[in-house]
């Protein structure tokens, strides 16, 4: 018998059986939908945590404060020197005047400070270079490079007043530490739920095949080969997975819409709905492949037991 004929018959019996065993099919699809929703949630959670972590990391920078009397050209030299460091993503120059304006803006409600500043007459603030590294872990080496450069930071010709990395370091470290722990915990918890829900789906399919055990025996008695018995059940598993992945994907629209409206501010401005829209194809592919594999493998495992005898 040709492979094509076999495949066609197995596919046909699988689809007929799916259509006729309505209750079993609906139950299996529902269970599979729960599993796929958990898998989808894991993907969203990872995206949210990753985004939040990136947000926090992007807020971190190292500020180099210059003495007020340092010439702009000297600062320009330092800036280009820093820009050449491989770890540096960007360097922003804040002039003395800008620094004063920023300071005034920041303390606009504090009349006493502003009055004191006016009485001083001159601008006591030096220019600042705000440095952003490519990765959070690289700040230390950038700060160290500046500190170690004796001609800039030490002696009578020093032009750098201070590099504030040490003060920021502790809080940055703690924050990234917390975020990474949360991410790890999130992955562990969701992995746990993913495994549990896969097991539940597996058991649902196993139960469906258990109910058909007499039918399997009868098929064997009329001399059907294993592929003829196993094949249609695996096709059913594939159909469960396919339909459940579509349902799950549709369900995620209202879920992400609701989550976006309620949590956007909390998660540092990330729109889950937009993430859903941007990654729609990948999301569908992941859910579809997961669903189909879970359905097919569950059926294969569950039926193996009845074919051994």
């Amino acid at each position: 018998m040709s492979f094509q004929t076999d495949a066609k018959r197995i596919l046909r019996w699988g689809l007929i059986s799916f259509y006729r065993n309505t209750v079993v099919s609906i139950t299996s699809i529902l269970m599979m939908t729960v599993t796929l929703t958990v898998i989808g949630m894991t993907i969203f959670l990872n995206a949210i945590l990753g985004f939040s972590l990136a947000q926090i990391e992007s807020k971190v920078d190292v500020n180099v404060y210059f003495y007020p009397n340092v010439a702009e050209s000297q600062i320009g030299d330092v800036k280009s020197m820093i820009q050449q460091l491989p770890e540096v993503a960007s360097v922003e120059y804040v002039s003395q005047d800008q620094a004063l304006a920023d300071f005034k803006a920041r303390h606009s409600a504090d009349a006493l400070t502003l009055q004191a500043l006016d009485e001083l007459g001159t601008n006591p603030l030096g220019a600042v270079l705000n440095i952003r590294a490519k990765e959070a872990g690289q700040y230390e080496s950038i700060a160290k490079t500046l500190d170690d450069n004796s001609s800039l930071a030490k002696g009578s010709n020093a032009i750098i007043e201070k590099v504030n990395y040490a003060q920021n370091k502790e809080i940055i470290d703690r924050l990234t530490g917390i975020m990474r722990s949360v991410q790890r915990l999130g992955v562990a918890i969701t992995l746990f739920f993913v495994i549990i829900s896969i097991l539940i789906t597996f058991n649902t399919i196993r139960l469906a095949i258990y109910m058909a055990r007499d039918e399997i025996t009868n098929m064997r008695l009329v001399g059907a080969e294993n592929k003829y018995i196993q094949g249609p059940f695996m096709i059913e598993g594939v159909v469960y997975g396919g339909i459940a992945s579509v349902i799950t994907l549709i369900l995620f629209y209202p879920i992400t819409l609701w989550l976006t409206n309620n949590t956007q501010a909390f998660f540092g401005g990330m729109s889950i709905l937009q993430y859903y829209g941007d990654n729609f194809i990948q999301l569908f592919a992941i859910l579809l492949v997961s669903g189909v594999l879970i359905g097919m493998i569950s059926a294969w495992f569950a039926i193996r037991k009845y074919l051994k005898k």
């Binding site: 018998m1 059986s17 065993n21 025996t217 098929m219 009329v222 001399g223 080969e225």
Partner: protein, 227 residues
């Protein structure tokens, strides 16, 4: 064609066993195996189908030992035998047509053969009008006739019928026996197990009587002799 040579089978439950059975059945014979419930009739059928293995002894089908068949050889072997059970063992989610067609598909028949042969088999057992019905929509007699249609569809060399009329009313019983006789007349070996006296007497064919797992009588033109 079929030979049991000193076949003994013990289950953990010793009631369902056969002991030192030796029996030879030629091609084209119609043999009734009679005995009380638990005498070992069904065990003999299961042994012949390769569903259970003998504890000792050999069962020969033509020139090969049934016990020596591998898992992959069993389906091919079973397609040479058509089986009919007391509880019908039909596929509940398939229509009458599909039940018969499935056996043909399993035997690797083409779609054209299926479309042309299945209606004939259903006609032979008087079920043409029920082709689209599911087993749950049929009476006991109809289900058993469907089981027979499925059993004969691949033109097996042997038909094994295990208490085929056990669950049927007298009219259906009569119909089933007539169909089995017709199949035998066409040259197929038929082996049935039964404890229905009326069937045995009406057939007037070979009767093998077993009691407590042993053959106690083998009459060429037997009548029912159990008390």
């Amino acid at each position: 064609m079929i030979r049991f040579e000193h076949v003994t089978k013990y289950f953990s439950d010793r009631d369902l066993s056969v002991e030192d059975i030796s029996l030879s059945i030629a091609a084209g014979e119609f043999v009734s195996i009679v005995g009380h419930s638990g005498a070992g009739k069904t065990t003999m059928i299961r042994l012949l189908l390769g569903e259970v293995k003998p504890t000792s002894g050999n069962i020969w089908f033509d020139d090969f030992d049934v016990d020596g068949l591998t898992q992959s050889q069993l389906p091919g072997y079973r397609r040479r035998i058509g089986v009919v059970f007391q509880d019908f063992r039909l596929l509940p989610n398939k229509t009458a047509f599909e039940n018969v067609a499935f056996a043909m598909e399993a035997a690797g028949k083409t779609d054209e053969e299926i479309v042309s042969d299945v209606p004939h088999a259903l006609e032979l057992v008087g079920l043409s009008h029920k082709a689209r019905a599911f087993p749950s929509e049929m009476s006991g007699g109809e289900r058993q006739r469907l089981a027979i249609a499925r059993a004969i569809i691949n033109q097996p060399e042997v038909i094994l019928a295990d208490e085929p009329t056990g669950n049927l009313d007298p009219q259906s019983t009569y119909e089933i026996v007539e169909i089995l006789k017709k199949i035998n007349d066409l040259g197929t070996t038929v082996i049935i197990t039964t404890h229905n006296k009326g069937i045995i007497d009406a057939l007037g064919k070979r009767v093998v009587t077993i009691e407590k797992g042993r053959i106690v009588k083998d009459d060429k033109h037997g009548r029912h002799s159990m008390q």
